[in-house]
């Protein structure tokens, strides 16, 4: 019986991220758009910049998610690691006290810290739409 379990810095940061990564109950907590066609997706969005968070070790650990030509992809060092299929996205929520930073939960991937410096509204809506489709497919 170990009564003095110690956690590494990395483990501690991961645990702390859990309270911010509020797992979304898709049906209840996400307000879906009525119709995505009501919104124009800005075709100019090629890439959304990611702010280097103070704790670089955290951000290095995880894949980055970008929108490239309208598709959600995971990028590392400007190379597309993989395209993320819509049914792989499980949750998106903004971090407490920082409305510009979101957490995205992706199947078999880790949590991605993102900051949307511009067009965040459109991106978020796009993500919501992807999740809505994913949710509907699951339910159906």
């Amino acid at each position: 019986m170990n009564l003095f379990t110690e956690y590494t810095q990395e483990e501690t940061e991961y645990l702390l991220s859990l309270t911010n990564n509020k797992y979304i109950d898709i049906k209840k907590e996400v307000k879906f758009l009525e119709d995505i066609d009501d919104y124009i997706i800005d075709k100019d969005i090629k890439k959304i910049e990611i702010k280097q968070l103070n704790k670089k070790s955290v951000i290095d650990k995880y894949e980055m998610i970008y929108i490239v030509e309208g598709e959600v992809v995971a990028l590392k060092e400007n190379k597309i690691l993989k395209k993320i299929k819509k049914d792989e996205i499980f949750g998106i929520t903004n971090l407490i006290n920082n409305e510009n930073i979101y957490l995205v939960t992706v199947q078999d991937s880790k949590i991605c810290f993102m900051e949307f410096k511009s067009k965040k509204n459109i991106f978020f809506k796009l993500m919501q739409q992807i999740m809505k489709k994913c949710c509907l497919e699951k339910i159906m």
Binding site: N2, L3, Y7, T12, Y23, Q107
Partner: protein
Amino acid sequence: MTLDEFMETYFGEIEKINNFHFNYLITNKFTFPKHNYIELKRFIDTATNFLSDIDDTLLKGLTSKLYNDVHSLYTYCKMFKKKTEYDEYVFFNDYLMEVDKYKELKSKYELLKTEIENYNKTILDVEIKLKRFKEVPKNEKELTEYKKLKKQHVDSIYYISKIKDEYAQIRKSMIDLENYERKQFIPKFNKLREINLKKLEKIINVKLYYYEKLLWLKASESYEIRKFFEASNIDGGFSTKTFINYYLKNIDETKSSNGDWYSYLKKVLKVIE
């Protein structure tokens, strides 16, 4: 040993554990949940076992480390509660025996008790021997023996009455000291017990809260568990609440063996709502 020294030794271990974990949680700004997750522990254990059976890779790495951490602290907490449940028992068996003055009195008391027992035995032996003489012997040799026994009898009765007075006095001093020490000990002991247990429970609550979140995050990432949720038509996302509702739906409450489990699930559902 003084009362303060005793308390410091007795609560030393739990205080060390509490400080270690509390400092970690505070320094790293962990969230302290409003809900009492300790009440949920029984269900969290069930969910852990259930989900691990579906995907045996669920409990690995940090998930396993945190689960074992919570389990160790919870077991320790239960043991500590049991050990300290009866304050009178701790007072008599652990504390009083360490009070120097009491130890001294008790040692004298035991000595006198043995002496009294020995004199009683002597008196009984002498009385048996005296009974052999139906009257005062006339034979000189027998008379000497008779007188010797009589003297021994009288002496023993005299000594025993003297010792008994001292014995009663020591017993009274012991009782007075017991009462005095009890008055000091019980409130202090119970206060420290409560403070330390509350702190430990708070720590366990935070760790259980994080474990519960981690468990469902890992469950949601598991292909096997997602498949199970789909196949079982479990509706409402990966969470304890969803899973309790799933259990409640499938429980046969008419079976008496399920009664306790059913009431428990209903109760804990209210905790997280």
